[in-house]
Each structure stands twice: as structure tokens, then as C-alpha cells.
Amino acid sequence: MSDDNKHTLVAIVEDKPGVLNRVSSLLRRRSFNIDSIAVGHTDQAHQSRMTIVVEGDDARVEQARKQLDKIIEVVRIVDITSIPSVSRELALVKVKASASNRSEIIQIVDIFRANIVDVSSDSLIVEVTGDGEKVDSLLELLRGFGIREIARTGRIALTRGGAGPLQTEEKETRVSKQLPKTQPPEADALPDW
């Protein structure tokens, strides 16, 4: 992550209509710019995973995270910025290429372990996967040849190691929706407040 002010929020949300709108509209009205947002299914039915990259100081982003957590369909949301994690973006780049410089482009693409996924007489489509920095550096190099079009996904991320903060819960723990009015939940399960 090149920018210190950028935060990666990962949310597990219920797969219902309008959830993306609720998330993006909340960030807009609390004056956040969304750098990128990526949404996809999880291994659980009816749940999606959102990876949201926003800019802001820690306190502001934490306030936004807590507000997002209040959206009914947001099941869990974690700021993984300071947690060791793997993050990836994907880009498809259509580059001008002639017979004379095609091999030069292929060399660069190889160094980045990117792939050529389409070839025509005057262009190539390059597929690159990596963290934002890697994608940026390849784009910088390809720019010299002339870029015709870029399609870029937002960032997706997973925390490293065993149990992560967003790990899918076991089925049985998802059953008790009604709040127990009489007995407190396990103290250990709560954040420290």
C-alpha cells in the first residue's frame, strides 16, 4: 500500500438488493472518496464480500467503519490495513503492438509474470494480477508503447495465517438471532469496551 492514508475495509454483507447502494451512499454522505470497491460471492450462500478502499486518517475511517457496521445487512466489517494480508488487483490492458515491438512487450510482460490473453495485428491484451504497486509499475512501462484501453478491478484482500477476523462462522452460531435479554454473551467474544 503506497499511501499511508489509504485504508482497506473488508465487509461480509447479506446478499440483498440495495446493499452496495447503502454502503456507497453512507460513505458519500460522510464525505469519503471511495478509491475502489470490489464485491463478490463468498463460500456461504446469501453472503457477499466487499473490499472497500478509502482514504482518511485512522479516526475518521474508524468512525466510518462503525457507521457501516450499523447497516443492518452488514454482518461484519474489519479494517485490515494494519493486519498482515495479501491484496490483489487485476488489470486488462490493451497495448498498441506492431511486429517490430511485440517481442519487447512480451519480455516485459514475462518479467511481471503477467499474461498475453489476446493478440491482433496491431495490439495485445495483457492480463496482470498483483498488488496495486505492481499493476501501476507495469502500466508505467507499457505506457511507452501506447495504451488503448485499461480495465481495472478494485482491490481484494485476505488476511494472512489461520483464523482471520472475517472467517466464515460455523453454521450453528448463526442460528441465535434473538438477543438473550437475560444472560450476557461471553466476555471474551467482545471487543474491549
Partner: protein
Amino acid sequence: MKKTGAQILCESLLKEGVEVMFGFPGGAVLPLYDTLPQFPKLRHILVRHEQGAAHAADGYARATGKAGVCLATSGPGATNLVTGIANACLDSSPVIAITGQVARPFIGKDAFQEIDITGITLPITKHNYLVLHAKDLAEVVKEAFYIAQTGRPGPVLIDIPRDVFQEEADFIYPDKVNLPGYKPRMFGHPSQIKRAAEVINNSERPIIIAGRGVIISGAFTELKDLAERAQIPVVTTLLGIGCFPETHVLSFGWLGMHGMAYANHAVHHSDVIVAIGMRFDDRATGVVSHFAPNARVVHIDIDPAEIGKNVQVDVPIVGDVKNILEVLNQQIVPREHVDWFNQVDKWREEHPALSIRDSDSLLPQYVVRQIYEVTHGDAIVVTGVGQNQMWSAQFYFYDKPNSLISSGGLGTMGFELPAAMGAKVGKPEEPVWCIAGDGGFQMTIQELATVVQENIAVKIAILNNGYLGMVRQWQQLFYGRRYVHTPLSGPDFVKIAEAYGVSAVRVTDKKLVTPTIEKAMAHDGPFLIDFLVEPEENVFPIVPPGAALVEALEMPTPEKVTRSSK
């Protein structure tokens, strides 16, 4: 047996204990209105404008603690609810708004009276639904009431297309909700409560700031127990008024822009603030960088997003106030803070915010105080927004929770009459006084017709000064006395009331204030008094915008305190 969507909705409302709803019919909700006669236990009150329905549901909810229900048709009916829904959202009031929508085949076609009301109300509801199948209705109603009334309460809107009301489905009312992403934390973290107790036990100049969360949670005895155990002075927020008896020896009024100067001084000089069910609103804190510079803050609230939002917090405890105080109180060491208490009491002597000028003219403060005297403080007071609101909060003493109902967060003029109507419907046995200004009252004056048609016996006091008084006061104090568009040439409120069928009297003489209030109380049914009060009377104290709490401007000539009634 199959039922129509409209029947399923009504059955579901009955299952949720709904007795009354405030609404206004229209094309998209016609199938529902056609079904209402089958459900005589669901009382429907016909308002004259949908904004009135939303405020009435809000007033009902605040007076009773139960969810209030309002109903409107699609398009303009739905958009007219918006102000009332926003008002309920900012004051955490459990309002269920049910709107009709155009039939499903017309959605997205800019059909007649089609509006995307779930989109419009996204930022001002706790949650909202567009129901596309009658079979989903029961579950949605169950969830809506659950979400509106638990955790930090708030409004929930249910948008139902016309043909969904007509569609048939099996009616099975669920006994549980399935909301994996909504689990309000009810109990505080034990180690945080322990830390809070240590901070409180070691404090020299502690103060409690209690907000509406105490009322919502029903934690009056627990709050009293905490205050008395450690002899901690209590101030409230505007919306917290009534959560601690104002005639209690430890009560030091309420803080903020128009709060008592001694309350603001006490907060400013405290070393520990125990903030309970409140959110450090900017009207309460003054300029936040100068707010209570030496205080450590213990913040108890059910909404984790309120922690650290405006003020830095030393010990946060997230959970239900009542549950937390029950545990916390056991760890509080009984002690006295004699020096601190004497100091705060001294500020109260030096800053007599509740004095009423000795004057022959008809002062609005005097009117409010006489309403207090005549009702023995037993009424539910519902205010408008502006000067009338501040005088109502200052010069009436509230000893019971929910005895003051006021629009705090949104500051909605026009809230007063419909909200008073809702409160009276919810608490028919209690006297309800609507204290209004001549400006705000005209915003929802049409509800006088509702009051008459349904014989809702609210008593209305208009503090009529011929100005948009609070704005005029700001123009006087901060805009070189340029009264731009604040003078009003009001209507004859007595004639208007009488035209609607409400008995009404005008009072211009101070000596007639008490007997007229008594007359209104004795009158069977709604009654309006038009008090022609001192036109340029100001609300004091006032913390100027951008100033710290202790920099309040006070009454220019503080005179003798008249607290004899306490």
C-alpha cells in the same frame, strides 16, 4: 388459509401490538384502506397532511415507549413523510412508516405518483424495505418492529406496491427474526465497567450528563441510585430532560447552548464526566475543543458509533444503559463530594438562569411557569422549535421521563401540534400541553381539524410574539439587529381555532394567565390559548456560536430568583 397482502399487513400489525396508526389514504394504498374495516382493533386517525402523521407517530412513540405507526400513499404522500422520518431518526424514535408504491409492473417507469421512497429515506431511516411479494410481508413487519424498537431505536420504512396488497399468500407470523448483521450489544464489557468504577471512585469533581438513552432504556432508578450513591451532580441534555427528577437536590438542570449557566460551569470544571445515553451533540458541548478540558470521560451508550465521534473518550462502555448501570452501581463506593457540591451550588446561586423578570408585561417565561403551577408538573409538554422550546425546557420542571417531548436533533418547526396529538392518543389519561410559537404552529396548523374530528383533548399555548423569535434573537445579537424576514403578521389564531371547531381565548393581560390555563384544563376537549407575549424577549443564557460552554451570555439584568415553586 390464503390472505391478501393488505390483510397480512393488518394481522402482522396486530401481532406487534399496534392499536393506532396515523395516516392519509391515496391510490396506491387503497387496497389497504379497503381492508381496514375488517380490523376494528386497528384505530386509524386521519391526519390532514402526511407530515402530521409522521410527527404524530413520533409523539406517540415518545409518550408510550412503543413504536408509532404512520401510513401514506406513494409519491407525494411518501415524500411528505420525509421530514417526520428524519426527525424520528435524529432523536432515535421508533417510528414505523408504511407507504404505498405503484404496482410492480409500473416500478421504474416514472409512473403516476411513483417515487423511489426507499432511496430517498436511505440516510434517514434505521432500515427500510421494498416488499415485492405478499409472502414476505409478515417477516418484513416482524423485522421492522424489531429493528425500530431495539438497540438504538429509529424509524423503519416499509414500501409496499399496490398489487402486493392485493396478492394472496399464506399468513404465518414468524416468532423470531433472522438478522445476522444486527445484534445490538445489551451488556457492557465487565472490565470496562470495572475501569469506569475506578475512575468514578477516584474522582474529586464528578458530573453525570444524562441523555435520552436513559429514558429509552428505562434506567431512571439506576441513574438515581448512581447519583445518590456517590453524590454526583446530574445535568441532562435537552432530550434527556425528565430522566432525572429536576426537583431532586442533585439535579443541576441541563447543559448546552441555552442550558443553565451553572450546569455548563459544572461540566466545564469537572474532572470526571459520566456521559450516559447521550451523544455530545454540538448544541450540548459548545465549541468542542474547549469542552471540559480537564475531564476524563466515561461514555456509556448502546451505539458504538457514538463513542469517540465528537469527544475523546477515556472509558467507553457499549451496551444498554440500564444493564450497565445495574452492574456499575455495585462497584461504586458511597461517598460525598462536599466541596464540589458546594461549588456547583454556588454557581447555581451566582447564575440564576431560571429567574423571571419582574415585569407587568406578559412574559413567555411566566406563561410556561404558570402552566407548570396549574398542572403541578404532571403534564406532558410538547414543544415547537425555537424560543418556545427553550422556555418550555427552562421554566417547567420535569420530574418524570417522557414528560417533555421536543424535536432535538433535527429541530423541526411544526413538530408541536401533531406530536402533541400523538402523545395524547398514546396517553389519553394524562394532560398534554402543546407549547408553540406563532411561526412553527402555522406549519402544521391543519392538524387542528384532526384534533377536532378525533376529539383529541390537547391544550395548546401559543407564545405569540409576532416574530420568528429565535432567528430574530440571533439577528439582534449577532446580525446587528437587522430583522430580515422575521416579523410575522400572523393570522387571528382564535378565529382560526374556532373555525376549526377548537375553543380558543386570547390573553394579553398577565393577571389572566393562570385563570385561562385553569379554564383550558377544565374544558372537555381541545383548547387553544393565544398568549400575546413580549415581542422582543430573548432566551438566556445563550452560548454564542463558536464559544465555549462557560462563555454563555446571561440575562442582562439578572433579578431575583423565583424558585419558590420547587
